[in-house]
Structures are given as structure tokens and as C-alpha cells.
Symmetry: C2
Subunit: 153 residues, 2 copies
Amino acid sequence: MSTFVFPARTTSSEIELGTTLQPKFGPDGLIPCITTDHLTNEVLMFAFMNAESLALTLATGKASYWSRSRNKLWVKGEESGNAQLVKELRVDCDQDVILLKVDNVGGASCHNGYKSCFYRKLAPGATVANEASLKLEMVGRPLFDPAIVYKKK
Amino acid sequence: MSTFVFPARTTSSEIELGTTLQPKFGPDGLIPCITTDHLTNEVLMFAFMNAESLALTLATGKASYWSRSRNKLWVKGEESGNAQLVKELRVDCDQDVILLKVDNVGGASCHNGYKSCFYRKLAPGATVANEASLKLEMVGRPLFDPAIVYKKK
């Protein structure tokens, strides 16, 4: 997979309105990826892919990413069991963002045990006029205990 | 707004499981932002914010971003009329991604006139074994004509 080369970028018109997949990887070789629940559209997580992980995702049907913190290919769920089966892949207008619609086996996409990484929302009344008001409220509940699932050292 | 400073990053535990908004702006001063329809969860667009645009978003209730291509603050809809009224703001586990749930006035978030920037999906049968199979299919239809709305030069 490591040598897979996606179709080259062509014209702005073909990139934006055409029918050839021409993903744009940044100077760091990465493209942002938004992953959603294929049934509810809920945003589950946000991560990056390199060409290798995108090719592996297409080849296996399971979401793979590039972990910037661990600097390695990351097959989602390889440790936690919470794999993501890809039901649909989309690109945005300029093909520099990937959107995956997945069936999240196990139900949790976040390493903290939540279904979605976006388990907190800004509290009502938050205002930039008062820094102390910039509080978050929990809107998710954990589905697993990371300390057990990842067998912390 | 340009001098607004968000609460400083503290401990990993407080960032990931706490209740204080502590957004992480990258070395370029930007944080990724995923914008969704508040009623359907459909992903409308992906863009970046700097501290100024995030503060302006909170102060006005209208989504503002930082345009990397134009290198300027960008109040969504200022040209097209398709403003985004923020109904909810979320952060991800490590607070380095923003999620907005918005009411998209006018209905179109994409500069090409579509509701969502993600108006194309990978076609069935696409495989990395055959580059020619990596085709996109249109799944959206334009709601406005960009040539008219943006009065192209």
C-alpha cells in the first residue's frame, strides 16, 4: 500500500465538479478526515490520513488513519476492537477533505470511551465578555473504560 | 476581537474530561472546524478558525472562519447571504477541533452552490487495484448559481 499513488490533481474545474477522485494531501502528506455514523450522520471523530491509510481504507473497507502523535499507520479499532466499517466515502468541493460514513463496530469511536469524540458542548450563557463563562457541559456518556480496554501501563 | 485570549491549556485530564473551554490553536494559529446542520447532523463544510474568528463566532452567534486562501477573516455568508446561525458548539476530546451545529440561512454552505461541500461520493466498485475505477458520483444538486451570487469578475 505504501507506494499507492492517487490520480494527480488536474484543473480546478475537474477537481471541484468532476468525477475523478483527486485527493489533495498537504505538504505533510496528510488529508483531514471527518468520520460520521452512517445512520445518524453524527460526527464521531476527526483525524488525518496519508495516501497509504486512504488506500488501505479503500482496500479493506475499514477506516485507517495516520496517527500524528504516534507517527504511524493506525487501523481504527486494532487495540480497542471498535473498528469502523466504511459505508460511504465522500470528498469536499476542492477534494482536500475526506468524509467517511461508517458502521462503528462496538459503538465507541473515542479513545476516552465515548461514541463520539465530541462529547462536550459549550454551556448556555458562555460569552467572550466573561472568560469564566466559557464552560463545557458533558453531552455523552462513556461506553467503555479506557483504563481496561487499553490496558494502561 | 483580535486580542481575545482563550483560557490557557492546562493538564491532559482537564483538557480531555474537564469543563473549561481550552481550544488548541496550531502553530499557524488555526483550529479545524467541522460545521453541521443542527437538525440533520449532515456535515456542511470544513474550515479553519483563528482565535479572532472563534471569538467573533461566540460574540455574534454567526459562524466566522479564517480563510487560508484569502488570508483574512471570513464571516460566512457575507457575500452569498448564506449565513450560519450557531445553535451549538462542541469540542473534541483533546480540544483541537471545533464542531458547530448551525441553522444555515439560505440553505447552501458550499461556494459551488450546494447545501454541503460533500456533494460527491466514491462510486461503487472503486478499488485501488484499478486507478480508473476511482470515480466520484454526484449526490447533491446546486441550490444557487455561483456565477450570479458571487458576481464573478
